[in-house]
């Protein structure tokens, strides 16, 4: 299946994201990853924060969250959200030598939610081109309800309802 960018003019390529046709794909990427991280952006609403917490808890995955969402995470008693703005976490995920949130080194999988379309579009492009990991590159996944061509994997453009179905499906396959 070919993805189509949400913003019409953002013609991608040659390298474009694979479309996530089934949430099982993401579940298996997460299960196979030795160090996944979830990145939450400035457009995250309550639902995104709730799903992010669920995802994090499902596999013990830390969250790098834009500081404006910290209140929402704290109100839910969630402690594993670390404040980084979009460009700050982008720059760190790019650097193969970054020590990570816990000092144990870089991540091999980064999932993104709650971003303005063009913000994650740009961050994901930076990572696609520059986030070297050994011989390869960081795997990135966009979990927002629109196709993000610069991710390694992205959901397609979705209505809010279909998007929630996908996220719930992902949680289900992660055992939540």
């Amino acid at each position: 299946m070919r993805g189509e960018s949400w913003q019409t003019a953002e013609i991608p390529g040659p390298k474009k994201a694979h479309v996530i046709t089934d949430p099982r794909i993401v579940a298996s990427l997460i299960k196979r990853s030795s160090r996944p991280i979830l990145v939450v952006g400035g457009e995250a609403d309550e639902a995104v924060v709730n799903y992010a917490i669920e995802l994090s808890k499902a596999v013990g995955m830390p969250i790098a969250a834009t500081p404006s969402t910290l209140k929402a995470f704290a109100e839910r008693g969630f402690k594993d959200a670390h404040p980084f703005s979009a460009v700050e976490i982008g720059e760190r995920l790019r650097d193969p030598d970054w020590e990570g949130l816990d000092g144990s080194g870089q991540y091999d999988l980064a999932l993104f939610m709650g971003f303005k379309y063009y913000v994650s579009w740009l961050i994901l492009s930076g990572l696609k081109h520059f986030a070297k990991r050994g011989e390869g590159y960081l795997t990135t996944v966009s979990l927002d309800p629109y196709y993000q061509p610069h991710a390694s994997w992205s959901l397609p453009n979705l209505t809010r309802e279909r998007w929630e179905e996908n996220i719930k499906g992902l949680l289900h396959h992660l055992g939540r």
Partner: protein
């Protein structure tokens, strides 16, 4: 005498600095004597002369590139796929390509200002004579052009003197642009150094343009009490003929006002502006009015209110002539840079041009003589206004509903809209007669009409939004101080100490265009927040306008509420885009006046001073243009961090520090030569925030400087922590990096912060006399 010759001569002088004082330096036509001040190490620097300084900055503030596209298509070898480490046919990699694109953008921006300055200087010399003195602040300003003096070492005295400085700018710009050619520069950091150079040269170009127009036209000269004028859609008296001026190069608009005055017509015709020409015409004559920033172009034109539209250069909607034709308003192009396909009528009899435009025989004219533009615009406006009766093309309420019914919910408009506005949803409601959702889009709409281009049904979406917001637009009436120009020396004397010691928490410069993610109201909110907290808020360009377009409960705008002085809690409209160097100039003059540092050709030392001591931050919340890119880069090299809104990420690269990388945050203590850790201050040089809250917290953070006294740091921490808690609900995680001594801790938060510091294992550390330059170590 060429600039090269100048340099040799100055280099010779440089060797004599230590031994001779009171040298007279002869540079072409510029003869200047500053007996107490020798020439510094880098007069008229070439593109690599400040490279060491740039690399120091770039080692700390590393570029993070975010390519727009995987390809390069700049030469016929291409397209080349540069994805993931691939190189193009010329050997270039993606990092170098991205930095090359940034350099290209900055060259375009700098060329625009320098070209503007050249046209302006030529015109003003012709009109007022080359001996016209440079005077931007009467006796209140000692150094009229601090950026020029800092970079080149010279101090221009007359309009004629500006020409050779422009020669230098144009020469540098040519070299910089040549570096973008295939097979030239290959290293991304060297491209970035050239980006900084372009920004620095751009600052000179802007400074020349503004110094020339202030001097010749008598704009306010560093005046804290600059008069008020009106801004907003509703300020135009539609019973009169209306001339709309758009752009940045003010002579045609000046001649319109002059013609009105000379022919006793002043007051009978409304002269209203959009974008920087509006700023500058109100600096010339506060009776002129401002409609608003760049995004107001189409909605105002479509209203039918303008009877004649005069455009000069920059940021003009490029198909505006077709919009003018739709409302039957003649269109006059006044710059050879933007001819818009019109016949050149510069040498025609004004009677003939007026006749053709009024009768509709010709939709517009290219007139490259500002005097003639003045005459033709006024005469046409007066003759055509009674015939046109302001007929616009904004649909009526009923027509809006009918248009909305044609919508097929295909989403193409929303997918074209840069702000992803929910247009189809709003139209669905409008089709049922409820225009509220459509009206709600007004604030966030930047007026680009990409939605209309995309709509397969041909629905005039932007017009529908404007029509739904008609009442609101008509009620837009605000007060703004006209651009005051430079900051006075006496103001610097008063605040230099408190700024460097940190007691005035910072200078926040709100600049740039109107590509806002959520409307101009956010700029007003940011300005208000920091003015209320006793920062100094300075503004230029579209941002200065947007700040004015909000009233408080008492009906006052920010310019009415706060004084126009460069002091704590002041809110200053500095002027148009080309007035930006007055902001840089204020920072430079702090080093000169407060710290008695030499300015002449002493760029690196002054930039080092500003980076380490002057808590200034630029905020370009709606940065859009290539000019905004070069303006920002001029500030980076000078050590002033810049924050942009989320659209600013599309400049494709940030310059980001890493707070946890301790080794990046050492400086020399100029007293001892010791290497001392000072914490990540300022943390970033170029940063994009997603939300206004994030921007505000970051502003409060980026004003911290290594040299802050404990008292000053405590004040800065108070504001940062307060904003952080308000928006994020807790203490900053990296607070310990910014507390150097116990005395830094704000007293009211002492217990809470001490507990936090103990958990982090914090220890007191010294406060040095900070510098990145080894040669400045005294001990």
């Amino acid at each position: 005498m060429g600039v090269k010759g100048v340099k040799v001569k100055l280099d010779e002088l440089e060797t004599a600095i230590g031994r001779f004082k009171g040298l007279e330096i002869s540079i072409g036509r510029v003869v200047e004597e500053i007996p107490e001040e020798p020439i510094g190490p880098t007069p008229f620097p070439s593109i690599a002369d400040l490279r060491d300084w740039d690399l120091k900055l770039l080692r700390r503030y590393r570029p993070f590139y975010m390519p727009f596209c995987d390809l390069c298509c700049l030469c016929t070898f291409g397209k080349c796929d540069l994805t993931q480490g691939k190189r193009g046919a010329c050997g270039l990699d993606m990092a170098a390509q991205q930095s090359r694109i940034v350099l290209l953008a900055c060259c375009i921006g700098a060329a625009t200002h320098i070209g503007h300055a050249r046209h302006l200087v030529e015109h003003l010399i012709e009109k007022y004579g080359r001996e016209t003195p440079i005077n931007i602040g009467e006796d209140a300003v000692e150094i009229d052009m601090p950026v020029t003096t800092l970079v080149t070492g010279v101090k221009p005295k007359t309009l004629g003197d500006l020409e050779m400085v422009l020669d230098y700018c144009e020469e540098q710009l040519t070299h910089l642009l040549s570096c973008c050619h295939t097979g030239m520069e290959g290293n991304n950091l060297d491209f970035e150094s050239k980006v900084f150079h372009a920004g620095m040269i751009d600052q000179i170009g802007m400074e020349i343009a503004d110094a020339a127009q202030i001097s010749a036209y008598g704009f306010p000269r560093a005046d804290p009490e600059a008069p008020f004028t009106e801004i907003g859609w509703g300020v135009v008296d539609t019973s009169k003929p209306v001339i709309l001026v758009i752009g940045h190069n003010v002579p045609p608009a000046v001649e319109i006002v002059n013609y009105l005055i000379d022919h006793q017509l002043y007051g009978q015709v409304e002269v209203a502006g959009i974008c920087c020409t509006a700023h500058d015409i109100t600096r010339y004559n506060a009776g002129a009015k401002i409609i608003g920033p760049i995004s107001w172009q189409l909605r105002f034109v479509r209203s039918g209110i303008p009877d004649v539209i005069v455009v000069d250069e920059q940021c003009i909607r490029t198909n505006l002539i077709t919009e003018a034709m739709k409302i039957g308003a003649p269109f006059i192009a006044a710059s050879e840079k933007c001819c818009h396909g019109l016949p050149d009528r510069t040498h025609d009899d004004p009677d003939a041009i007026v006749e053709d435009l009024v009768s509709g025989k010709a939709p517009g004219a290219l007139i490259l003589d500002p005097d003639k533009v003045g005459e033709v615009a006024v005469r046409v406006a007066m003759e055509i206004a009674p015939k046109r009766r302001k007929s616009g093309i904004l649909p009526s309420r009923e027509e809006v509903v009918e248009w909305a019914k044609r919508c097929r919910r295909c989403l193409e408009c929303r997918r074209a809209c840069p702000n992803d506005l929910p247009i189809p949803e709003a139209l669905e409601k409008a089709a049922k007669g409820d225009l509220s959702a459509l009206e709600a889009l007004y604030e966030d709409c930047i007026g680009c009409v990409r939605c209309e281009s995309a709509c397969p049904q041909g629905i005039p979406i932007h017009s529908l939004i404007a029509s739904a917001a008609r009442e609101r637009m008509a009620s837009e009436r605000f007060k703004i101080r006209v651009g005051r120009g430079a900051v006075q020396d006496v103001e610097i004397r008063r605040v230099g100490g408190p700024i460097v010691l940190g007691e005035i928490p910072g200078v926040v410069a709100l600049v740039g265009c109107a590509n806002y993610p959520r409307g101009g109201i956010e700029v007003a909110e940011i300005a208000e927040e920091f003015a209320r907290r006793n920062y100094i808020v300075v503004a230029t360009g579209c941002a200065a306008m947007s700040m004015a377009m909000v009233k408080d409960e008492e009906g006052q705008t920010i310019y009415e509420k706060y004084p126009g002085v460069f002091d704590a809690g002041g809110v200053l409209n500095i002027g148009s885009c080309v007035s930006n160097p007055h902001i840089a100039g204020a920072a430079i003059k702090i080093a000169r006046i407060f710290a008695k540092r030499n300015l002449r050709a002493n760029y690196e030392e002054i930039a080092d001073y500003i980076l380490n001591r002057v808590g200034a931050v630029g905020v370009a919340w709606g940065a859009m243009s290539q000019k905004a890119a070069s303006i920002a880069s001029g500030f980076w090299r000078l050590g002033v961090p810049v924050i942009v809104g989320p659209h600013g990420m599309k400049y494709r690269r940030m310059l980001l520090g890493r707070r946890e990388r301790e080794e990046d945050w050492y400086v020399y203590d100029a007293r001892t030569g010791d290497r001392v850790y000072v914490g990540p201050a300022p943390e970033h040089l170029f940063y994009a925030a997603e939300t206004k809250e994030e921007a505000m917290v970051m502003i409060a953070k980026l004003v911290m400087r290594p040299s802050d006294t404990t008292k000053g740091r405590a004040i800065k921490l108070t504001h940062w922590i307060d904003l952080h808690k308000r928006f994020y609900g807790r203490l900053p995680d990296d607070l310990h990096l910014y507390v150097r001594r116990k005395a830094d801790i704000p007293i009211t938060m002492r217990d809470e912060i001490m507990k936090f510091l103990e958990e982090k294992g914090w220890q007191e550390r010294p406060i040095p006399d900070p510098t990145l330059l080894k040669r400045l170590i005294r001990g």
